[in-house]
């Protein structure tokens, strides 16, 4: 092979590699744009720290109404998870941390975190919260009802497979959260607290 032919072959290889790289990059850009485009706008409103690569779904969360007499719903983007337990966990984490749209307020004491979540064969979810939910609770039966049923209603509304929810604190069954609502058994969705 003459040096001239060698140069031509090298040039062809370089051009081919360059074309291949350009095509791959363009394809990746196109694919990424199609995934992120639908959620880009709401994510910037509610969850600024969202990871773009994780698919997200809309969930109904519950917050105390402006007058504090009941619960109101608000749509939030939460990460899509595989399986009821993982999805319930993502849902409760969102319910605990979500900033409600004004003028609604969170019914759950700030700083409350989820320790664990389990779903029994009888479709009862067990939500294990840390002690902050009790220690930072302001008391009063109305506040207590709103705290408990914000979580219970969020799970039973978004995950129809789950029939009832029992709250645990620091891994243990408790009588009540602040001296009123019976937490010894799983609770069903409470429609009467939802403000129309």
């Amino acid at each position: 092979m003459t040096p001239r032919r060698l140069l031509v072959a090298l040039a062809i290889v370089i051009v081919a590699v360059g074309l291949g790289w350009a095509m791959m990059t363009a394809l990746a850009r196109i694919l990424r744009n199609t995934e992120t485009a639908p959620v880009a706008a709401p994510a910037s409103q509610t969850t600024p720290d969202a990871v773009p690569a994780v698919p997200r779904i809309k969930a109904t969360l519950f917050f105390a109404s402006e007058d504090g007499r009941g619960l109101l719903t608000a749509e939030h983007e939460i990460p899509l998870a595989v399986g009821t337990v993982a999805q319930a966990r993502a849902l409760v984490e969102a319910q605990l941390a979500a900033t409600p749209p004004a003028p609604l307020v969170s019914a759950i004491p700030a700083g409350t975190s989820l320790r664990g979540l389990y779903v029994s064969e009888r479709n009862e979810a067990f939500v294990d919260l840390d002690g902050a939910v009790r220690d930072k609770h302001p008391g009063g039966s109305m506040n207590e009802l709103l705290t408990v049923f914000a979580i219970v209603n969020a799970i039973t509304t978004n995950l129809p497979d789950v029939q009832s929810v029992q709250l645990l604190i620091e891994g243990r069954e408790v009588d009540t959260l602040a001296g009123h609502v019976d937490l010894r058994r799983p609770l069903r969705k409470n429609e009467s607290l939802i403000t129309p």
Binding site: A64, E66, D67, G68, R69, G70, V105, A107, P138, G139, G140, S141, M142, N143, L145, L146, S164, D175, T176, G179, H180, V181, D182, L183, R184, R185, L187, R188, S192
Partner: protein, 549 residues
């Protein structure tokens, strides 16, 4: 566990405590098991102990043992008069010395050194006592004691219940040990238990005196003091703790052993006394200490005395207890460590609920003559189970739990009434519970049917009545105080679940609202709530009576 504790330490809820430093500061909270880990501290303690032992040896006398020192005495009341019997505390158990008992009651003691026991002879009967056995033999019958007799040197120590369980039968005499009052009642002397409660209202002070068993009493006004004289030999009475008040300065033992004295306060002008009999075993005297010139349709003249009427202790003007509602249990929400809600001004839910509970009790007792019990009459922690269990044990016909609410929004205010909400599964259990009784084998063969009530769903049987009661409470309260926009609601409240009677939980206002907080702490608002609840109870009683054949 280690991770948990360390996280608590980090979060500041637990703090590390140097036991030696704590000991220096006289902190009593250092766990004993931790002290030994600090060798320096242990060494110091050992040195102190050695020095102390040296001093004791040099002084030539044994250190006085606090455990063996006579701490107090028992008051013996009999036809012969009052005597004292020394008692000795040992390992959290109270004992009497057998030789003291023998001297007081004329027993003859014979010690059996071979068997290691002692025989006490009372007349023709003997009591055989053996050491380390919590059982004695009384005239051949075995009687158990709460603790085994203890031999200390030449002395025999016997637990206090020996007097009632063994000595009484041996002497063929009734002996009643009243530990709380530190009394031993011997023979047929009449020593009624007298308990008094003082409720201060804006317009006067009410003193409620309960006597068990029912005992006639006279109320007289002598030298500006109200005296209550009982027809008894002595009284088992301890003065209730109370600060001096405008209408009542003090409530104390009277001049004689069978009288009480009410020392009037500065605003006292007249008194009014009524006698009732809440049940067959007790009598009740209610004395109102009032300002001068108080008019009362029931007792227009400030009667200085209400003559005792043993045959018929109920005045004809007072209604007899209703057939349907005889007993009411009022639950003052929270208490003790459980503060409940706290208002912006610092008013605590537990204090407000207790104040209203006491007012309501007085009003029901005085006006209806029903038995009323409070789940707590002071600032103490009680579990939610204990509250409904107490109502069940008193066979209450109505249970009212009083609370004050708190909301996220300070603007929220108004009273609310709740009754229990139950799930579908509970409703099924309720039907099962109502359908059949449970058949149990009975002693001596055969079976018997019993009405077993599942504790968890006791309230389920009364939902309809509780709903009616809630409606009545709402209507009565609405006439007197502001109501929330959702005045009657159902909720899974724990305190209502186990109540085996119509039961409601009343949130009498919102402490989180500054205006309502002020009202909730005031006597005027509490009176309005009390009157509203009282009116509802009167209505509910009438409904129950109508529904009964």
């Amino acid at each position: 566990m280690t991770r948990r504790i360390s996280s608590l330490v980090q979060s500041g809820r637990w703090a590390r405590v140097d036991p030696c430093a704590a000991a220096r500061r006289r902190l009593p909270l250092v766990p004993a098991r931790n002290r030994g880990r600090y060798h320096g501290c242990a060494l110091r303690r050992a040195t102190v102990a050695l020095l102390f032992a040296l001093i004791v040896l040099v002084s030539g006398s044994a250190p006085p043992s606090a455990a063996q020192a006579p701490q107090s005495s028992l008051r013996i009341l009999s036809r012969e008069g009052a005597r004292a019997l020394a008692t000795i505390s040992l390992n959290n158990q109270e004992y009497v010395a057998l030789d003291d008992v023998a001297t007081t009651f004329g027993l003859t003691l014979v010690e059996d050194r071979l068997a290691g026991g002692v025989t006490a002879t009372a007349g023709a009967r003997t009591i055989i006592i053996t050491p380390d056995q919590p059982v004695v033999s009384v005239a051949g019958r075995l009687v158990s004691l709460t603790a085994a007799p203890v031999r200390q040197g030449n002395r025999w120590l016997l637990p206090l219940d020996f007097l009632q369980r063994a000595l009484g039968p041996a002497l063929d005499t009734r002996m009643e040990l009243r530990r709380a009052a530190r009394l031993l009642v011997v023979g047929d002397v009449r020593v009624p238990r007298v308990t008094a409660r003082v409720d201060a209202n804006a317009g006067g002070t009410t003193v409620t005196v309960d006597t068990t068993p029912a005992t006639p009493a006279r109320v007289t006004l002598e030298g500006g003091r109200v005296q209550v004289v009982f027809d008894a030999d002595a009284l088992d009475f301890s003065s209730p703790a109370m600060p001096p008040q405008d209408f009542l300065q003090a409530l104390q033992q009277g001049d004689t052993p069978t009288s009480l004295r009410l020392v009037p306060g500065s605003k006292f002008g007249m008194h009014r006394a009524t006698t009732t009999q809440p049940d067959a075993s007790s009598s009740r005297l209610v004395i109102d200490m009032l300002p001068a010139g108080t008019e009362s349709p029931a007792a227009p003249v400030p009667a200085p005395a209400v003559p005792a009427a043993p045959a018929d202790p109920l005045p004809p003007s007072l209604p007899l207890p209703a057939a349907g509602v005889r007993t009411i249990v009022i639950d003052a929400g929270h208490g003790g460590d459980e503060l409940g809600a706290r208002g912006p001004g610092g008013t605590l839910e537990k204090d407000v609920t207790l104040a209203v509970a006491r007012r309501l009790r007085t009003m029901i007792e005085v006006r209806l003559g029903l038995r009323v019990f409070l789940t707590r009459d002071d600032d103490r922690t009680i579990s939610l189970d204990e509250r409904s269990a107490y109502a069940n044990s008193q066979k209450a016909d109505v249970f009212i739990s009083l609370h004050a609410n708190a909301a996220i929004r300070p603007a929220m205010k108004g009273a609310e009434v709740y009754y229990l909400s139950i799930d579908r599964a509970d409703a099924e259990a309720r039907r099962m519970a109502e359908s059949t009784g449970t058949v149990l084998p009975s002693l001596g063969g055969g079976t018997r049917s019993v009405d077993l009530i599942l504790w968890e769903i006791a309230q389920a049987r009364y939902l309809e009545q509780s709903s009616a009661l809630a409606g009545m409470v709402e209507q009565s309260l609405r006439a007197r105080v502001a109501m929330s926009p959702r005045p009657v609601q159902q909720a899974p409240f724990r305190v209502l679940v186990g109540a085996n009677m119509p039961a409601v939980l009343v949130e009498i206002g919102y402490l989180s609202n500054a205006e309502q907080e002020q009202a909730l702490g005031s006597g005027a608002y509490q009176d309005q709530v009390t009157q509203g609840l009282f009116d509802a109870l009167v209505q509910f009683r009438a409904r129950i009576e109508r529904s009964q054949p």
